[in-house]
Amino acid sequence: MAPETSNITPVVQGKIDPRAAEEIRSVVVMTDRLKKLKKEWEDAAPQVYVDDTLLFTESWKETEQMPVDFRWAKAFQKRMENCPILIRDDEIIVGSSTKFIRGNNTLCAVKPREILAMCESGRFDRKLSDISSTVIDPEDLEKLKADAEYWVEHMNPVNYVNVALEEELGKEHFDLLFDHAMILEGRGVRENPDRGLFQGYGAMGGGVIMLTAEVLHKGFNYVIGLAKAEMDKMKAEGALEDRSSANALRKWYLLKSIVIMFEAVVAFAKRHADLAREMAAKTTDPVRKAELEKIADVCEHVPAEPPRDFWEAVQSVRFMHLAAWKESPERAEVGIGRIDQFWYPYYKADIESGRLTRRQAAELIGAMWLKIREVENLVTIKREHRAAPGSQLPNVTLCGRDKDGNDLTNELSWMILEVMVQVHLSEPAVYVRYHEDQDEAFLIHALERNRDFGGGNPAFLNDELGTRRYLDRGIPIEDACNWSASGCLGYHLECAEHMAGAFNLVQAKVMEVALHDGFDPRTGKQVGLHTGDPRDFKSIDELYEAFLKQEDYFVEKMRDHYFIWWTTEIANSPMSGLRAGMLFRDCIPAGLASREGGCRYPIGKMSWVGDKGICDCADYLAAVKYLVFDEKQVTMAQLLEAMDANWEGHEDIRQMCLKAPKYGNDDDYVDEWYVRASRDTQRILQSRPDPITGERPMLFKGAAAGHVTQGKAVGAMPNGRYAGTPIYDGGTSAMAGGDVNGPTALILSATKYPTPYECAGVAHNMKFSKAVLNSPEKLSKVASLIKTFMKREGWHIQFNIHSAEELMKARKEPAAHKDLLVRVGGYSAYFVDLPPELQDEIVERTMHEVG
């Protein structure tokens, strides 16, 4: 690496040295090396990668009749020891997901029928809708097809979950299911997803934090040693001779599996060391030779042993994350966690000793960022039906307080935001744990980098609420404060909790059913209870009561569904293998896989339940109250008729609905419904303990893009929406264009019901034009918005920037964007009102600024 800028020492935590901050803010992350690597990534087409699935199948055939965890471990070992590896020219951080720059890794064992259908049609499109964008080598196609055919033949065509559900809950239960994605996995192609009331995501171990500071700092050999010691103890105690205990044998194989898997990752790293040495011997370029020798030295050492310097710490995390992803590419929601904390001791030591410069550190992190983004996923359902389209959710979490309340923000927190902006890739998503003692200068930096990124990143989470949630469950502060963002808007303790699955009830749909006396217009079936014909209702409270009765009924169905799914899937699925078990070191003494409760705290084993569309419901209730009962502008019969016709021939009624009060304007008329419905829903959701653990469920408000899918099943509703259009995004967002009183009003509406401690996924999206973030004073004002939001017990806030694309859209459809404000100084006006040449000016400015 090139000669560097001066180092400012010492490196401190909390409020960092302003000169260090300046150095970090002006560091050039995108060196020629990283620019070249990024260009290669941009130019590469996604390509289907088959080596891993073939190796998996080969191993599976060799381990017939063995315990499932052991088979899973052996199949992992087979891949790690035999998959093709490479080191690209100029790379410093190594370990590729596949042999392609953008490779779609997949396992036929998980979804053979879908992959076979792809092979037969020749379409490996990531969207499965328009033009095929993924290529496959013709020879690989033949191999993949044969592999898929093998699994179709060997996978039990009987779906135990479906059989059990039908047996226990009746055939009509299927009319409640939002999509068949989860329960049909591997046994059929999904059909008719655009209906239903609740939705489940994630199977065993979706959205977890698998990387831990402890494993990084002590090395894989330490974990292997622990497992082996436990095995020696079992032998010494004669536990295996005790034929009366099946548990002992199970534990034995679990420990054996853990050893195999950790050793497999170490072997994978050593293969890279060998390759680097080989390449070093061949190269004539002395600079590259030295780099390759360093890479060899690094990979020989980590992740087996504790890192000796910052480079090794970055490389070790890269291997850990890659291994977790390769273990189960289909369920790869592996959060990276608190890397500013993991890496800090190494960074501090290296900077202070002068071994490393800040620029070199930034380049190493940037190099890892590029490696993370090489991952592609062979999506077998339509992109818009996915919760988080195409995302692997490798979330990074920064800052936060330690057990004694000290601010953990450090130079790496600053630097990672700089890397995020300059490398400029859609992933990883970055989260900042906000608290009141945080240095204002850091918040300004974070918001400025958010602006430069184009919005959305980093998001801010409420540090105090997150920790309090765990404390309230009796978890000691040492662990309670160690949480990070995971999965799709969730959060978890570092390797100490295991997520089983998440269920969302779509309240927008529940309201539609309540408005039809339990009937679902989409399926043409009576899916809910008879709660009365709304035309006979005398007050809005009667409608609200009907809604709550329906909600209660569906939550019970959801709980039953979860119980049956969990017990059946675990008992019968060949895919319930080790997964998430490998880095949970608590599993070793417990002798249980994490899914079986081997993690430190059983809470995470429990389901997450949630609601989607609560703000929509507030708008529905307010509109009905306003139009039917208070102002008497229409009758319930007229309203229902107009909605059932999807407003065709009833535009006047739809316009009345659009003009009715809307959530997000700090208007108590409608916000009152948001508060009531939130409170009652929380009560209903938590009234049924998890049937497996007996714990009360976690609350969750669902996925980043689920609102599109879920909206497809919901008909025309009293807020003026058309059938099938998206419901509101995020957990506390207003109707698009419905909030017209600005950001403070939206925050007040959203925080009238403080986020319950046990709630995640409540993303509060704020939309700004770039002008609002263009000076330090204005950034400071936005920072104070975060402060007020958090003080009012909001959980998650993020700021998006109006894009040029969005402005162009507004220009084409002015009616749909009539409230898009443009602000310049004391002047403010609506964008759509501007004459075309001024619109051009603003679009151009936006494009220039967003870059």
Binding site: Q655, G742, S784, K818, G825, L834, L838
Partner: protein, 303 residues
């Protein structure tokens, strides 16, 4: 009761350009000046006015049917409004299903305004913000302004008065004890040029400026830099001289002209008389800033 009511055309929450922190700005309707470059023409007339938003009008002509006065007719480019016949009854606003008709300006009591203003109290506290009275010209409604300011001070809010200085000096003096910061516009030193482009001479403005400077209330002088009016070194220098003599070391903000207000004239049925002009160049704004700074004043260009 006099002063209990005033005419307001907008209450804007999350105002971030009108003083420290996060603020709510109350825009008073009515202004004795009629600056040709005004970007908020709806602020000039004291009475409520009908605005028609051509961009989202669907030409359903329900407003035409709804208007009992026959003030709305169908023309070649959509509807046409005869503003002499219009009585501001609001029937067309009710009838419009598309939100394309709006009445700007509303008579409000101090209580009504305060109810909106106090909602953002948490944000004022956390950001060091408060309330700004702007316009229009606040000094045109001094009793209303005084009552509102008193109310805000009782609640502990920071208050900013944003004024063009065109009004009764006694009225201004009555407000100052309740004001924490004044934004005072000075447009031109030459009374004739001022009269030609802003509709009145600047005597009252200059007199009131001295009053503010003598009062001890912190203030910022704001100068809109308008092409063909005061975008010359001399004009800027003259303003700076006055400020420097009256209050050495004071702060001046220069605001470059923009033409984003143009379409609002059309919505109000008014003509935009500002000759087509581009915003002053960045180079000129920098030079102007240097001129002001040379007089030992603080200066920056804001948008």
């Amino acid at each position: 009761m006099a002063g209990a009511k005033g005419t307001v055309f907008n209450i804007q929450r999350y105002s971030i350009d009108d003083g420290p922190g996060i603020r709510t700005t109350v825009f008073f309707k009515g202004c004795p000046l009629s600056c040709v470059w005004c970007s908020n023409p709806e602020s000039q007339n004291l009475d409520p006015e009908l605005m028609h938003r051509q961009s989202i009008c669907k030409r359903c002509y329900r407003c035409v049917e709804a208007c009992a006065e026959g003030a709305i007719t169908v023309g070649p480019d959509g509807i046409e409004i005869d503003r002499d016949l219009c009585t501001m009854c609001g029937d067309c606003v009710e009838a419009c299903p598309h939100d394309a008709m709006r009445i700007t300006g509303k008579e409000m009591t101090v209580d009504e305004v305060f109810k909106v203003v106090e909602r953002d109290v948490d944000f004022y506290r956390d950001s060091g913000g408060g309330v700004t009275l702007s316009g229009g010209e606040v000094l045109l409604q001094p009793e209303f302004a005084l009552a509102l300011l008193k109310r805000c001070k009782e609640a502990g809010f920071h208050t900013t008065l944003d004024t063009a200085g065109q009004g009764n000096t006694e009225g201004l003096k009555s407000l100052l004890p309740y004001v924490d910061l004044v934004y005072f516009d000075i447009k031109h030193i030459d009374p004739k040029i001022h009269r030609a482009q802003a509709g009145r001479t600047n005597e009252a403005i200059l007199r009131n400026f001295k009053e503010v400077a003598a009062s001890g209330v912190p203030f910022v002088v704001r100068v809109p830099v308008v092409p063909g009016f005061n975008d010359s070194s001399d004009a800027i220098s003259d303003i700076a001289d006055l400020v420097a003599t009256t209050s050495p070391g004071a702060t001046v903000h220069l605001l470059p002209y923009h033409r984003y207000g143009q379409q609002k004239y059309e919505m109000l049925g008014l003509d935009y008389e500002m000759p087509t002009a581009d915003a002053p160049s960045q180079d000129f704004m920098k030079a102007a800033c240097e001129i002001v700074k040379a007089k030992q004043l603080a200066c920056k260009v804001t948008v």
